[in-house]
Symmetry: D2
Subunit: 157 residues, 4 copies
């Protein structure tokens, strides 16, 4: 399984969800590269935005589907992280993304939330919208399975 | 539906698949950003590679799942493009990615192929492997639906 | 592509959605076999229920995942049919189902709705709940792509 | 998570995979209802067939997509069961099915196999074909995540 989206520092105390998400987020090279930032974090929810730039487009100057999938996946994964025990990390097992409309605008906004939280597996979803002069339009929806794993030396360094 | 992965120049002649894929590929800001390149193109298949860099990692220095999903999606979409009539473009309707193992190594290699080619919809799949000193290891598999659409002024410019 | 979920009788008038759904539904051998019935039909929505019986279980006497997937798929597909032009039929291109909790109770209720309606492709979703003495509990969620196709002699007989 | 596809009898010995699969299979009301039977079981693979009957059709007398999904899901799940420790049961976490062609013929044959076997999660796939006078034609492909869980009193009775 792949793609850890978070690992607390080994403490067993409950940490502030926003801080926990941001600490993990800042260590993701890809999110930096995309200029993504965490807008909002709640218990079981997370909102991420990505500003438009030439780097995040496909050949038609729309936001690239891969970027849409990436922020949707991340928004769902970080939503799960807000509910995970401090000694657990969150890994994406799989996700499916349906593209609903071309994504054109000033930024992408991905809103992730936990659908069900099990002991080891969470199911999450995320809607991704393009926001521009004409308002906001949903452009993709993501349905995702994430797993909670013990943080190991390998993953927590 | 989203994410055009290719559009020929309005000619009705069959174009060289490799040239067709590369022309489209070079216009994708994201693929440039990732340093991705097309390795091989056949009738109904396409192989893409992405070298390791700090920009394509998640917080554990593995390849980011979003990058894995992106190259898998692209490999499948470009495999479809090789079989598309010259006046059609290929759009990803949806894809699902299962992460199979952590992706660590010098590069990612995504091999896409067409499973079935309908009149309007293709089903494609792609396997993504991490290649390093220890050989090659499959790290994700993608199952994808793409649609063929007439190239419009909006999409072909 | 497979699994037509509806075809009107060749008339080009707008038909009553409930009648349209029921006419198609009654012709499905599998739905009869499961004892399924259409509870409610709206513009872009459809609710189906399946009573508990020994025939719809897996080895643990829970509702079988296949039955859950089937009614979820059907609820989404019929939701699409309510918005389809009278000369079009609805076919499921693909669906994904996440199982959220064991499904035990007196009946299954699947609520499907259209997420986005395109010219040729719809994206739909459905939630499936188990209903029993302890109330209602969501047990699965479905995300689905359906296509609209002209009704042909082959499919409309 | 839902849909157990198998549970051994509490013994810790490795049991014959074919026997293990058949024991579980026979307890599935739905599989009996469909007339399904296990054709072949290997280490990490399983083949199931379903004969044509009026009960397994949709409104066009093709095999119903739900039946196709069900046997694909089961073929993958039972493939996983062949590799599961005797004290574990196999539950489907989620699956995605793409329908590739109308399924018409004398029987459906679903061939499931394990793609990767983790400690707690397996990824499996299955191809489902329709077999008739004109030979065999693949009509659907399934990509699936299953989990291994300890057999509990609740599930093993």
């Amino acid at each position: 399984m792949d793609e850890g989206v978070g690992q607390p520092e080994g403490s067993s105390e409950r940490r502030d969800p926003l801080e926990r998400v941001r600490t993990s987020f800042e260590r993701q090279g890809l999110m930096r590269l995309l200029g993504a930032r965490v807008l909002e974090v709640g218990e079981g929810s997370c909102t991420i935005e990505v500003p438009f730039s030439d780097e995040v487009t496909q050949q038609e100057r729309y936001f690239h589907g891969a970027v849409i999938g990436a922020v949707g996946d991340n928004a769902g994964g970080y939503a799960a992280l807000t509910l995970a025990p401090p000694d657990r990390e969150v890994l994406t097992v799989e996700y499916k993304v349906n593209f609903l409309a071309p994504a054109f605008g000033e930024k992408l906004v991905a809103r992730g939330e936990v659908v069900t939280a099990g002991r080891r597996l969470f199911v999450c979803k995320a809607d991704v919208s393009a926001v521009g002069g004409n308002g906001e339009r949903i452009c993709a929806t993501v349905l995702q399975t994430v797993s909670l794993s013990p943080i190991t030396a390998r993953t927590s360094r």
